[in-house]
Subunit: 177 residues, 2 copies
């Protein structure tokens, strides 16, 4: 969740918590320069990198969930499309280049103000190695997935859907939002 | 685009623009409390409210695009799912209750740090009236859409896709991200 706002990031004055005129929610409002400081959910963009019948997971070198396995994913940056963010994260965390991205699933983690948008993607050349946020990176077949050592529930959900969907001929998506 | 960050919203100190250790982008970093102030894209959640063969548009009572027609949409709040945000906006802007929401299209407005997620939805009871951000609210059939007076390109794109898709039996989505 975002840090509480105590001071105006624009002019430095102490903010007040109030409901601005015409709105319904408490906001941090600057009494000096009148700026209303909105805090909004963040997008986490990620992908399932595929190579032949395997998919790529990263073992986290950072908290939270140090040492646990995850799909490459992270906060979208201003200036990126969601797919570009997912590709950047695959490169940062696994030095992996991914293309042919197809939007696959959306998860609302509304209690922590995050929206996950996950893609399927294809490793361009099968090459990968740990980025600085990963202890190791490895291709897993379905029967090798470390189900008891996944970092996040959203990763487990995505992988369960994915392996189930792979057994059928259509290409379902799970953008129920 | 977000306002530039000059002061730490946590402790009030003047921030420095620097690339934090292990990162690659310039961030506002507080030299006093070490907080890194990230600025990330925002989600705009909206919907196409359907009633019989018509859809509901709102004429904006606020800037930007005062007086132009739009689909109800606005910034997602922390604590909401994307669909809940879209439903809230329909209620705020058009006093309209919408259900059966189906994710329909995603647009990256990366140059202004926004990701639009648009749904199709159904008016529950056909009732509506202008909310405080709307001058008027009206149901339009396809041949009545005020194409030359729409507020945003993203609204025009969504409506063009929607009326094209309505002519075919499948229910395509445009979540290409």
């Amino acid at each position: 969740m975002p840090l509480s706002i105590n001071f105006c990031s624009h002019c430095g004055a102490k903010v007040e918590q109030k409901i601005p005129s015409g709105e319904t929610l408490l906001r941090a409002v600057c009494p000096a320069c009148q700026t209303i400081h909105y805090q909004n959910p963040k997008i986490v963009a990620g992908c399932i990198p595929e190579w032949e019948e395997k998919i790529l997971l990263c073992r986290r070198a950072i908290e939270p969930r140090y040492g646990k396995w995850t799909l490459p994913a992270g906060f979208l940056e201003i200036g990126e499309t969601v797919a570009q963010g997912a590709m950047r994260e695959a490169f940062e965390e696994a030095c992996a280049r991914v293309d042919d991205l197809v939007a696959y699933a959306l998860y609302n983690l509304s209690f922590i103000g995050q929206v996950y948008i996950m893609f399927r993607g294809r490793l361009i050349d099968g090459s990968y190695q740990p980025g600085h946020e990963s202890l190791s990176v490895k291709l897993f077949s379905e029967d090798q997935i470390p189900w008891d050592n996944l970092a996040f529930t959203v990763v487990e959900k995505t992988l369960k859907k994915y392996f189930k969907d792979r057994k059928i001929s259509t290409k379902p998506t799970h953008i129920t939002a």
